[in-house]
Every structure is written in C-alpha cells, then in structure tokens.
C-alpha cells in the first residue's frame, strides 16, 4: 500500500501530479474501509431550483405527444394526461421542446418526471400563497399553511437529511448556494417576493446561502491550504480553546435568561457542538490532498446586483457559481448541494424581453407574446444547466464521468401552465400551479439509474417519493420523508 501523501496541499498547475481527483490511490485505506467504497466513485446529490416557476405549457418544460384538448383536460392526472389535456410524450423518444433543446448533448442522462407534486402545497390558505411556497417547499414537502406570510419556518429539507446521513464522509457535509441573493418575502419585497431558499435545517430555519463564487472558492480551496502540520495543530488547539470557553459561557447564561430566550441559546449550543464534531472529523482529512485540477481558476470578482442594464451579467454569475460547484463535487469536498440558479426577477432585456418578468412572463395567462418571454427565460436557465451537465460529463472518474456518478434534480416549485380545472369549455392558465411540478433528474447515480426516459406519474403521487428513491440510491433503505408512500415506480433503478 502506498503511503498517503503527507502534506495537505492544494495541488495546482503541477503537471506532474495526477489531475484526476477522486482516485483510490489517494485515499487512505482506513477511509475507504469506513465508507465501504472500494471500486466505485461516490454518488453526488445536487438540487437545482428555479424561483418563480417554469413554463410547462406548449413547447415548454415537458414534451407533449399531442396537444391540449378540452375533453381530455377534464380527466387530467391519469394515464399520461397533463393539465390542459395534452398527452405526455413519455418513453425514450421524447422530442426536445424549446426549453429542453439545450440538453440535446446530454439527453441520455436526463430523466423527465411529470405529474408529481407536493400535496401539502395545495392546502388552501390566503396567507402563504404560492409565492410564499415556491422553492421553499420543493425540498421540504411540508405544510406551511399555518405560517405567517413568509415561509421562513418550515420543515427540514431532504438535502439536509441526506447530509446528516452521509455528510460525514466528506470534508463538508453539504453546500447551500445561490446565484446572487436568495429572495424571500419579508414584506420589504412588497408582497411579491418568492421563497428562494431551498434548504432548511432540522429546526425548520432557512439555511443561509452562499452567493459569492469567489468567497466560496476561497473557503473551499484556499483557506488554510498553506498550513503545515505545526500550524494546523496550533489552529486546532486554539479553536478548541475557544469552543470550550464558549460552552462555559452558554452554561452560565442558561441560568440567567428566561425560558423563551433559551431557545436561541440552545440553537447556539447545538451549532457549537456541530462545529466541534466537524473539527474532529476534519482531522481525518489532514493527509488527503484536495487535488484541484490544473485548469481550476479562482473566479473574478463580479459586480453583484442588477446584472448590468440589460441583465446579461447573470449568465456569467451563474456560470461562475456552477464552476465552483463542479470543482467542489469533483474534488469530493461534498456530496450534497442545493443551488438556487435563477428566477423570474430582474431584467431580461438581453433576451429581448425587458418587462417585469414576474408580472408578465410568469403571469402570462397564455398570451403568446408573453409565453415567448417565459420560454426564453426558461431556455436561458436551461442553457446554464446544460453547461453544468456537460462540464460534469467531461470529468472522468474511476468509473464513468462525474455526471454518471451524480443525481441532479432540476426544477421549480411552481408550475406555470394550463390550469388543471376546466371551467366551462376553456382551458385557463395558472402562473403558480402546484400540480405537475416541472422536474427532471440528470445523471445515472453511478450506473444504478438508467436515464434517458420521460416518466409520467398520476396526480397524487407525492414528490417526496423522489426523495425516497434518491435516498435508496444513497444506500438508505426503508427511508420515509414527510408524506412519501415509497420510492417512485417506473424508474429503472438497479
């Protein structure tokens, strides 16, 4: 057995080193034994969300075999009939719609999932309407109808549950990322703010998101990289000293404050304990190099904010964040990540659609001109997603590409498209529907998922069943999540 490298170094631009990150030879036997991995690259689970919904009507997120039809629309939700009466183009020969076209090169990695929804989203309440759900319930499936108009108090999200189970195998349990800032309605957004947070911790609090690619890069790859053994020991000793003092402070405070205040201090204590545990686990990574690839670049500082007058700056920002995320997955920094990629906000003049995206392209009411705007926005987001997937597909690992070894969920909490209910003989449009969620999976889960198919589910199939499937692929059997009834049928999973 080769002796593992003795320095924790970031290897950059050194042609002599192996540019391929996850290789068995680099990992000490003990770590391999612990994880039970001997020949397989690990499975990465990524959750990419789009705020404000996605157009699922004609030539939109889901391919149709036949067009909308009023009579068929009345029996939607079964046998492949989508809201509005269109027939889902299921199977492997599905046509690329305008929105899906950017995925042409990786279509064999894509599994389209139509018909799913979070049943709890449909609970009628005038307080938290769909705007308040959006991405907030996509990964939590929780009933938030009792919350005040801000979905900031939620249930735990699936990615955090997964991170708790498998996060100890990597340096960082999980990442919660956003491009720009995560929006939410704190009333400062005057009633139309979407819920832009995907991840929620076990207390139901939104997990703060990191939105600066440069800082993220530094945190993951640069900070502490120049330490030697002695310096590392010193840093740890100091951190332990501080943590001990903090715990004593907390103990003293608990006696002083009232019952209500203790909740916050308890959260603080839990956080400190988590920090301690992570510090302990971090030790096992001392001698394992990060192996940043040769061409890895620290992102340039981008002027955040309005993305430029015509909004085109957002593309660069999305790509920067996707690049850093790819590096994090490639180097096995983490195996769980959530990312709010974009949404219907800001300026899209660079696509030829300068109007208020929410009021016009999301709430398009089926108007063809406005639908064109929605499609353009969705396609633009899909182009960035394709960029991400193609990049992952080009990275070779022990067996297969990084994309082969991943499961990337992509979609939105809100469906923008034909209304399920037919009034009279007209099919209406719903900007923020909660049926037939626009969702797809990318990746083959290390070969255990045979991708390339469009699978349709009867209405009533809980979205959380997808999480049961994903949990299973992560080695968690007998998994249950909120309202799940079992794994998703009809997926070729081995």
């Amino acid at each position: 057995m080769k002796a593992p490298l003795s320095r924790r170094t970031v290897l950059r631009g050194m042609s002599a080193t192996l540019a391929l990150p996850f290789l068995d030879a680099m990992t000490p036997l003990s770590a391999l034994a612990r994880t039970g991995r001997f020949s397989r690259a690990p499975l990465r689970s990524v959750f990419v969300g789009l705020g404000g919904g996605v157009w699922a009507g004609e030539d939109g997120f889901f391919p149709w075999k036949s067009a909308m039809d009023v009579e068929r629309a009345k029996v939607w939700g079964k046998k492949g009939v989508l809201p509005g009466g269109a027939l889902a183009d299921t199977g492997r020969q599905w046509k690329l719609t305008n929105t899906l076209e950017p995925l042409a090169n990786v279509r064999d990695q894509i599994t389209l999932l139509s018909g799913l929804h979070n049943p709890n989203d449909s609970i009628r309440n005038p307080v938290v309407n769909a705007h308040g759900q959006d991405l907030g319930t996509l990964l939590t499936a929780t009933d938030i109808s009792g919350t005040q108009g801000v979905a900031l108090k939620n249930g735990v999200s699936f990615d955090q549950v997964l991170a708790r189970k498998i996060g100890h195998q990597t340096r960082i349990p999980s990442l919660a990322l956003t491009v720009g800032r995560s929006s939410y309605n704190n009333r400062e957004a005057t009633g139309l703010g979407y819920m832009g947070f995907l991840s929620y911790d076990f207390n139901g609090n939104a997990v703060p998101t990191e939105g600066d690619p440069q800082r993220l890069f530094d945190r993951l790859f640069t900070d502490g990289s120049e330490e030697d053994q002695a310096q590392r020991e010193q840093r740890r000793r100091r951190k332990a000293s501080i943590l001990d003092a903090v715990k004593e402070d907390l103990h003293q405070l608990n006696g002083m404050v009232g019952h209500d205040d203790r909740q916050r201090l308890d959260e603080y204590f839990t956080t400190v304990r988590e920090v301690e545990q992570r510090a302990e686990r971090a030790k096992q990574w001392d001698d394992i190099p990060i192996n940043l690839p040769e061409d890895a670049e620290r992102p340039e500082k981008v002027d955040r904010g309005a993305y430029g007058k015509t909004g085109e700056g957002r593309v660069e920002e999305m790509r920067q964040m996707l690049d850093v995320l790819t590096l994090a997955l490639q180097t096995d920094m983490t195996r769980v990540a959530s990312l709010r990629l974009g949404g219907y906000h800001g300026q899209f003049a660079f696509l030829g659609f300068p109007e208020d995206p929410h009021g016009n392209y999301a709430h398009n009411n089926g108007d063809p001109k406005k639908v064109a705007g929605a499609r353009a926005i969705d396609r633009m987001h899909m182009e960035q997603f394709a960029y991400f997937l193609e990049k992952m597909a080009s990275i070779q690992e022990t067996d297969g590409s990084l994309l082969d070894n991943s499961l990337v969920m992509y979609g939105a909490g809100l469906t923008n498209g034909p209304k399920p209910q037919v009034r009279g003989d007209e099919i209406g449009y719903n900007a923020h529907g909660q049926a037939n969620a626009p969702l797809l999976l990318a990746g083959k889960a290390g070969g255990r998922l045979q991708a390339g198919e469009h699978v349709n589910y009867d209405h009533g199939t809980p979205l959380s069943n997808l999480f049961v499937t994903m949990a299973g692929l992560n080695g968690l059997s007998d998994f249950q999540f909120v309202d799940s009834t079992g794994p998703l049928n009809g997926l070729a999973v081995s």
Partner: protein, 802 residues
C-alpha cells in the same frame, strides 16, 4: 383580509372552540360567528364571499388546524372591518361584543401556540460591523462576507427569523481573529513618510521626451526602471494609457508642482485614472491623501466645448474599492481635496479616477478632471501602540492579562465581566503561552475568544419579574436602536452609576446620541429599509425606454432619500414633513431630473421648493417612485402598496397566486397613464380583485404624473384623479399629498409601529396597541416632531421593559 400583526408560529396544544370562559367573561365565539358572519361566509347553499369559508373552522375541534384563517378573523374583528359597511342593514356587533371576541381570539391564539414570545436578538451584519468598528477601532466591515440577514415585516433586526449555522459560527470566529489581528499593534512604531506624486506621460517618464525645468527634480526616477521615488520623496503618477486613443489621458503643461497636469476624461467605469502605490508597514494603517485638481469643460469630436451635462466627480479607490467620491467644480485654479483612508494590504494602491457614471452618450459633456499633483502621508497614529491596540489591551503592554481582559470583556459583553468570565479568558491566555505561543499571539487568542461568546453576539436580557431591564440592558437597546452599535463610554459610565434610567439623564442621552455622527446608522439602517432605499441599487429600468437613466442618477436617488430623512431627524421636523415638504435634497444630476435650476456639483444640498413645485415629500422622490415601478412602466399598484405598507403600516394581503397580467404596449415607449388606467379598470370591475384593489389603486393612480423613473410627465387630469375607498377624491400629486397630511395621525401610528419593530427587534401584536396609543398621545403634544417621537418611543414601557 389583512394580516396585521404577526403571532406565534409553532402550534402545540389545543383550544376548545365554543363556550370557553375567559377570565370572568363568558364569550360564545361560535354564536358570534353564527350571528354576524356565517350568512356570507359559509351558510349552506349560499355563495361564500371572498372565498373565505368559516364552516370548516366552526366544525373543527380547535383553532389549531386553521390558525391562519383565525388570524384573518382576528384582524377584521380588531379593525371592525367586518361586517362590511355596505349593505347598511347588516347586523353588527356591539363594541363590547367586538372586544369580547377579540380577547377570546387573542387568548385562544396564545394557547394554541407554544412558541416563545420573546426571542433573543443576535447582532445582524450591520450591527456586527459597527460594533467591531467601535469596540476595536478597526473599520473593515467583516460581516459583509456573512450570509445575508433574513428579516420580517421589512426589517432585518427581527429576532424571530434569525438563526445560526456552523458556517456562520466559523465566519464569526474567523472575522474576530482577523479584526483582532489587525487591531493588535506590531512591535515597533513604524516610520511615517510623505510622498508627492506628479504627472508625466510615458515618453517623458522614460526619458524619451524632454521635461521642462521646475522646482521639483524628478530626474533620478526618469528613465530608471527600478527607482520610483526620489530622495526627497517625489514620485510619478502611474497613468493608465488607453490603446488607440492618444488623447484620452493627456498630460500637458499645467498647474502641477512640476509644471504639468493630466486630463482625465470620464469613461463611465473609472478607467481613466492616476495610480499611486506604496508599501504599508502596518497590518492596518491609516493614511491621508491630499490632491489638487480642477474641472474643465468637455469637448465634442470637433473640439467644440460642451455645456456641462453633470458635475465632474473624482473617485478615490483604495485597493480596488471605491472609498469616496468628490465633486470637483469648474474653476481656473486647482483646489485641494483631502481624503483619509485605511489599508490592510501591505502593497497598497490608491487611484484617483474620473468617476462620472452618467450614461455613455453624455460622458463627453461631463467636465474632465484635471489632476495636478497629490501628496500621501502616513501611517497616521496619535500614539504608539495605536488606538486599536489600546482599545483591547489597554495602555500598558506589560500588564497582566486580567488587567486588560476585565475592561475588554466588560465592553464586549456590554456589562461588567464576572470573575468567572475573567478567569475563563485568562486561562485561555495562559494555556496558549504554555503551548509555546508568543505573548502577542496569546493575547490575540483571548480577545478573539471573547468575540465569539454568545454574550457578545447576542443582546442578552435577564429574566426578571415585571420585565425590568437593568441600566446596561437599556443602554444596549438604546444604542442598537439609534446607532446600530454598542453603547459608548458615557453610556457605560451612566449605567455603572445607575443614573441612566433617571428621566432627565435619559432624555439628555437620547438627545446627545441623536446628534452624534453615529446616528447616521438610523438613517442607513432604518430609513434604508423603511423607505426601500436599499432597493434602489437593484432596479433595472429598461434601457431603451429610459435612455437617460444612469448610475449617477441612481446614486443621487438614494442620497436624496437618506439626506431627507436625516434632515427631518436632525431638525426635529414634524413627521408630516415626510408626507409633504417645501424642500428636498438634490445634486446637479438629480436637479436635472427634477428640472430644478441652479444646482451645481455632485454633493447633496437642501433645496427649497416653490409653492407650485410638485416635489417635496417621500411620494415624490424619484428613488421611491422608481423602486415602485416595473422595468418598462410605472406601477400604480406597487405605489399604492407603498402608501399602505410603508406610510400607514397597513399592508394589503398577498395577491392571489394566479393573477393575469395586463397587456403591454407594442412600442418601445412607456405606457401612457391613460392607457394604463384603462387596463387597470379590470381591478374595479372584477369583484374578486376589487376588494383589495379599491384600497390600493387610487393612491398609485394619483402618482401617474411621475414616470417609471420618477421624472415628471404631462398627463390628463382624469388619469390622475381617483376615488379612495372611503369616498375621498385624489387629484394628482397635490391632492394625494393633501389627503396624506389629513391622515397624519395614521401615518404617525404607522411610523411609530415601524420604529418599534426595528428598535425592539420583534413584530408587534395587538397587546402592544395600548402602548402605541400612549406614545402617539405624547408625541402629538410635541406636534409629532421626529426627535420627540423617537424620545417617546424609547421612553415607552415597550422599550424600557421586556
């Protein structure tokens, strides 16, 4: 259906619905609903008005399954909005029935929820930055790297939505370490230097071209690539030369100390600039830059002089970050400008750039910046060790650790340190020394540990009977409200001697604090959120429709809002000034936007407005109008919501999830007021929309005289005339402002509630209402002067007690 105040979120426990006795009063809630509500909201076979069906709630065993809807019931009961006024013959509850129902609901809500009533506040980012600045005397805003703060009801001080994660904790620890390290002095006092910079062009500085004689001898550094400074401390500006444009950075004979000057024209991105580099011997050094410059009219392609479109602005960048902008007037002779800055880089770069941000097509018409010379001196410090070091470690570097830890912990925790605490941190210090660290490192670690303690990061208030606060806790509440930072020495001293809560002393302190420069935080943090000034940075007006919108205007919009708020506080003006004023603040760029004459220069200054001027008051400010517009047009709805939410603190409920859009105009022109109004007629004709929109739209329609970026436009009188829900007519901006002033008392209430939400760090509920009434009665006696209102707020029980 309005959601007024927030209530507790977590549901636990049950409450029986009907016939529940309530502190001696017997209230039959079910009977109340049956008698007054069911006929429209859930009578079998009848249409359910407003889609609000009470039947499921009546049939449920407890409040819990329908908590959200019960909150709506509580709202309309609280405000006596239901039964509605029309038709007039509906049976209405008596006042005591209303009150009984309300009390029953409040009690039921509280029972149904087991969530805490009071959350401990954590320092948010701005508060953290300011506290570090005031405690350690190092100003580097470390919290800007932290994840964004979450907020509620418009403010990021609200404790309920604050959380902490391992990531954030690590960031706190790293930030504390970094700032303490910068604050702690290195061993020896550094040598200070003075350097002077002069302009020469590339040929001149390389020796190719001749340089005319002057009293400044630059010959030692000309043609010598390695030497950059002469013995006398003279150096050259490093001038970026644009390729392909020989005239862009032009050095010519002029009024610099060496007989030359450099012409910097505006490129819109600060690229035309003069750079100065130097070595900073300190971890955190302070410097002073003085430069001489003047402005000269720009030219068009044919060389003709152009009338100035806007003021010449010089931007001072330190290590790539814009530190300050200075307006440089058109004069024949240079004037002197001084900027002080800090640097925590060892190789520091300072740039003076031509920094106007007007739109591209007008850049030529902005007067060029003529830079003559500059002087840089530093590092500056009054004594050694410097103030930042002494702020932590005291005056005696050889003192025992407890000697400096005791005062430092007391300041950091904002109350006297306990013996246990001092021992704890002395222990860290000692153990670090024993592990082989230097004394400096041991001190740094102990200080860093203090700054990660919950006693520092949280505003801890002890539990006492009657909710009493001690003087220290009160001092913290006060300072975080008015300064968004920790108390200062005076406040600590008064707390120590138990004087602070004496009414006379308390009042004096409030007055003093409002006059302290730190009170700018109230403007930045409170007004920035209350008036949505922070969002001005995010607006994206369609560049084709609003071709004259530029970042100078964007900046001026924000500054107007801030300066206006600050003035009302500083001069204790009555709060109705927010609604209608005979002045505003403007600089040259904003004055152009507003058509105000005779305003030159980029600084904001108070401008009087004539009787026939429409401007004056927040609803006429371009920034607020632009934020409450869409990318391609105005938005009467958003503006109406601004009035309801921000001025009266009575926001309408969220729109239903599925709202169809209004058809857009075909041309690349802004939708006219008349067209927009016609399209919005649907709001009135469709009853499902009308119930909310009749309360929102009229306010916004009256503002249609201002376009999507707040410029005035000609409109027909009918398109800006609107009838309010209660019958009052608004005709245009003037009518709107008159009506607002008539509702001054409601505005004062709304503002007070906002101030309390921000200052207390929690949302209000109906139990707070009586206190708010009390505040308003007192403030009314002082004609609602802003300072008087602030004083009434901090003197109220809500502020003085838990």
């Amino acid at each position: 259906m309005r959601l007024r105040f927030s209530f507790w979120l977590i549901l636990a426990g049950l409450t029986v619905l009907s016939g529940r006795p309530l502190q001696g009063e017997v209230m039959d809630a079910k009977a109340f609903l049956q008698k007054y509500c069911i006929s429209c909201h859930g009578a079998p076979g009848q249409e359910v008005k407003g889609e609000f069906d009470l039947q499921p709630m009546l049939q449920a065993e407890s409040i819990t399954p329908h908590l959200g809807k019960w909150m709506d019931v509580m709202d309309v009961v609280d405000f006596r909005e239901m039964p509605p006024s029309k038709p007039a013959d509906l049976p209405r509850p008596s006042e005591s029935e209303y009150q009984g129902m309300l009390a029953w609901l409040e009690h039921g809500m509280q029972q149904a929820s087991g969530a805490p009533k009071h959350y401990t506040r954590r320092l948010n980012r701005a508060q953290y930055n300011n506290t570090m600045r005031d405690l350690l005397k190092v100003d580097i805003d470390p919290a800007d790297a932290f994840p964004q703060d979450l907020g509620e009801e418009g403010f990021d001080t609200v404790a309920r939505v604050q959380s902490i994660s391992p990531l954030l904790w690590s960031q706190y620890m790293d930030a504390a370490g970094r700032v303490v390290r910068l604050a702690a002095a290195q061993d020896e006092a550094p040598e200070t230097f003075t350097r002077r910079y002069f302009p020469l062009d590339r040929d001149q500085s390389s020796g190719k071209a001749k340089v005319k004689k002057s009293s400044i001898d630059l010959s030692p550094i000309i043609a010598d690539r390695k030497k950059h400074v002469t013995e006398a401390g003279n150096a050259l500006f490093n001038l970026d030369h644009e390729t392909g444009s020989p005239n862009k950075n032009r050095v010519r004979e002029g009024q610099g100390g060496n007989g030359y000057e450099v012409v910097l024209t505006h490129s819109g991105d600060g690229a035309r600039r003069a750079r100065m580099k130097f070595q900073n011997p300190l971890n955190y050094g302070r410097y002073r830059l003085t430069f001489r410059a003047y402005a000269e009219r720009g030219h068009d392609r044919d060389g003709k002089e152009l009338a100035p479109y806007d003021a010449c602005v010089a931007g001072i960048y330190v290590n790539g970050v814009l530190e300050q902008e200075i307006s440089v007037p058109l004069t024949d002779e240079p004037q002197e400008y001084t900027v002080e800055f800090t640097s925590d880089f060892s190789r520091t770069e300072v740039r003076i750039a031509a920094n106007s941000q007007v739109s591209r097509k007008h850049l030529n018409a902005v007067p060029s910046l003529i830079l003559c010379d500059a002087e840089l001196e530093g590092p500056l410090f009054e004594s050694w060790p410097p103030a930042s070091d002494r702020a932590i470690f005291g005056d005696n570097p050889d003192a025992a650790p407890e000697a400096w830890l005791e005062p430092f912990i007391s300041k950091a925790f904002r109350r006297p340190a306990t013996t246990g605490e001092i021992e704890r941190y002395v222990d860290i210090h000692q153990r670090e020394l024993e592990a082989g660290a230097t004394p400096r490192e041991a001190k740094i670690l102990a200080a860093q540990a203090v700054l990660v303690s919950p006693s520092f990061l949280y505003l801890i208030e002890k539990e006492r009977p009657g909710g009493q606060l001690n003087d220290y806790e009160l001092a913290s509440r006060l300072s975080y409200f008015l300064w968004a930072s920790m108390p200062d020495e005076t406040l600590f001293d008064l707390a120590a001697s138990g004087q602070l809560r004496k009414p006379q002393v308390f009042r004096q302190q409030v007055a003093r604090m409002l006059e302290d420069p730190k009170a700018a935080a109230l403007t930045k943090e409170f007004a920035g959120q209350w008036l949505a000034l922070r969002r001005i940075g995010e607006i994206v007006p369609d560049p084709e429709i609003y071709q004259d919108f530029d970042d100078e205007l964007r900046e001026a919009m924000r500054e107007e809002g801030e300066a206006f708020f600050q003035e009302i506080v500083d001069k204790n003006l009555p709060v109705r000034t927010f609604l209608d004023a005979d002045f505003t603040f403007a600089n040259q760029r904003l004055a152009r936007h507003y058509d105000l004459p005779d305003v030159e220069g980029a600084e904001m200054r108070r401008v009087s407005l004539g009787a026939d001027d429409l401007r004056g008051g927040v609803v006429t400010q371009a920034g607020i109008l632009a934020v409450h517009s869409q990318q391609t047009r105005t938005s009467p709805v958003l503006r109406g919501v601004f009035v309801l939410e921000k001025l009266f603190n009575r926001p309408p409920p969220n729109p239903p999830a599925n709202v169809p859009p209004l058809p857009e105009s075909e041309d690349k022109e802004e939708v006219t007021a008349t067209n927009l109004r016609e399209q919005m007629a649907q709001h009135a004709s469709n009853p499902a929309c009308a119930s909310c929109h009749e309360k929102i739209d009229p306010w916004g329609l009256a503002l249609e005289e201002f376009n999507g970026i707040g410029a005035h436009r000609t409109v027909e009188a009918e398109s800006v005339t609107a009838e309010l829900f209660d019958g009052a007519m608004l005709t245009g901006v003037r009518g709107l402002k008159e009506e607002l002033v008539r509702r001054e008392a409601d505005f004062a209430r709304g503002l007070t509630e906002k101030l309390l939400t921000y200052g207390l760090g929690r949302t209000l509920d109906s139990a707070d209402r009586r206190e708010v009434d009390g505040i308003l009665t007192k403030a009314a006696r002082a004609d609602y002067g802003m300072k008087a209102l602030l004083l009434c707020v901090v003197e109220s029980d809500l502020f003085q007690k838990r």
